[in-house]
Amino acid sequence: MKPSMILLIEDNPDDVELTRMALADNNIANELVVATSGDAALAILFADDAAAPLLILLDLKLPRVNGVEVLRRIREHPRTRLVPVIVLTSSDEQRDLIESYSLGANSYVRKPVDYTEFVTAVRQLGIYWLMVNIPPPSAAGVAA
């Protein structure tokens, strides 16, 4: 993975496509890597030669290893512990909010049903996390 990559952890192919469309509609050109399950995401992140992505977009309800568990492992691993993680999910259940923030999620965004609102949300995320926000020092550097 290149350091400018965005990792999208999302099992629903429609949501993957909608996210791609929304990123494209907002002219966000960073490469998008998609993991369609929690365990696939962990395999990508913790592969021997992997670099940490610039940003992780994390769905919570995932097959096998759920999003909360993925977040926990991300925060435990020296290579990924500082990577901004944005929880991008359908629910706004209290339980999900509390667990996500407790485990160190940097942001929590509820995916709107209205596609126009979704595009707006993705644009705002892109502007903030890719332009306004100063990312942590290179994760690889921190790990070394």
Binding site: L18, V113, D114
Partner: protein, 480 residues
Amino acid sequence: MTAGVSTNAATAESLPARSTELSLARLATVASMLAGVVALWMLVSRARAGAEQSIVPASLLVLVLLQIAALRASAAARMSIARKLAESDRRLEALFHSNLLGLAIRDRHGRVTAINATLRSIIGDDGELATPAGADALTRAGAAAPRELEVVSKDGSRIDLLTASTETTDREETIDCVIDISQWKKASRALIAARAVLEQTTTDLRRAPALAATEMAVAGVQPAKPSPEPVNTEVESLVLRLATANRELEAFSYSVSHDLRTPLRAIDGFSRALLDHYSSTLDVRGRDYLARICNAAQRMAQLIDDLLKLARVSRSDLKRQRLDLTQEALTVVDLLRSAHPAREVSVTVASDLIVDADLRLLRIILENLLGNAWKFTARTENASITLGSRVIDGASVFFVADNGAGFDMAYADQLFGVFQRLHSTDQFEGTGVGLATVQRVLQMHGGRIWAEAAVDRGATFFFTFESPSLQAQNYERGVA
């Protein structure tokens, strides 16, 4: 009882002396001495009248000895009675002051002359009650049969008491026995509220059969019988079923929250993509259909969100605290004004409205009722909304009144059902879940909501956080 307890009871630490028996003993002694003197006088006068001289000194001696014996016996008896009385008094004192029951002694004017530590700990350190109403109630409750009554202590907390009173045989004094049943009443109220919520849930589910089928299947819950048995026999099983239903409902709504919205996002998103990127290959009708698909998806998302809110209300914990309803209402009004800056609505909120309620749930009530008033005055000239309170049947009742579209009272019974609407969506937007949610919230508080309205002449929603009948029960219902 207010002034009485604080002034008299503080000084009257010991029980009143019970000296009636002692006085009687004294009276007996005096009488016997008097009789002796009279007998002696008769003897002497007979002797003087010429009886035999020899008998007089002997008789006199016997009489004097008898009298001395009588006096000593009487004195011993008095000593014994006094000792027994003192012992009895000590026992009474101990019984009074170390009793687990709260005890008070009142004189015939109703003034409290003694109060024990237990009662002091129940109604506050200085034994003073805040409400004269409470004090009157305690005096009124001076019947032999145990009665429940509710009083407010000086620090403002509400106390439920079980009291019974007995008059002394001379009718000079009354002894009040008091038990603090606040915890018990609290639990009982919680059970009644839980039962109301459960019954309402069942009714709502029956009204929405499709949803009911799904939810029952997921929750594995049997619907409650249409007319359940009296509370006491069923409370335990109801509570158990409610707990199970709550747990399952939580799992159900968690799943709904995640899974039901996802396909809607795809429907809306891809329809929108077609409209945005392929509109040149679609004619007007095709674009109209896609727009309808988008609208329907968004409306369904709104329905799901509102239903989830309702479910969350039902399973949330109630944290009652004293709240400034006026302030909360003004906050909601500010939000409405900033969301609809073009609207000109005259809003009047009465000052100093205080309520014991859960903050989050109070906000849900105000957002819905004020939001409705705001919405249904959208087509009214000189729109006005009033929030105030009045006392109905001894209970303080709040109301939100508007001069908007109103509704036909013939359909009033449909107002609070889930998905029930009295206006079509093209007239006024809405999902028909808001008032059902408000009703649920008020039921959880033990209160209720009702409405008065007329078509095009506005609607007034009355709501109370505690049902008047429950208040009346606390004051009036005897237990025995």
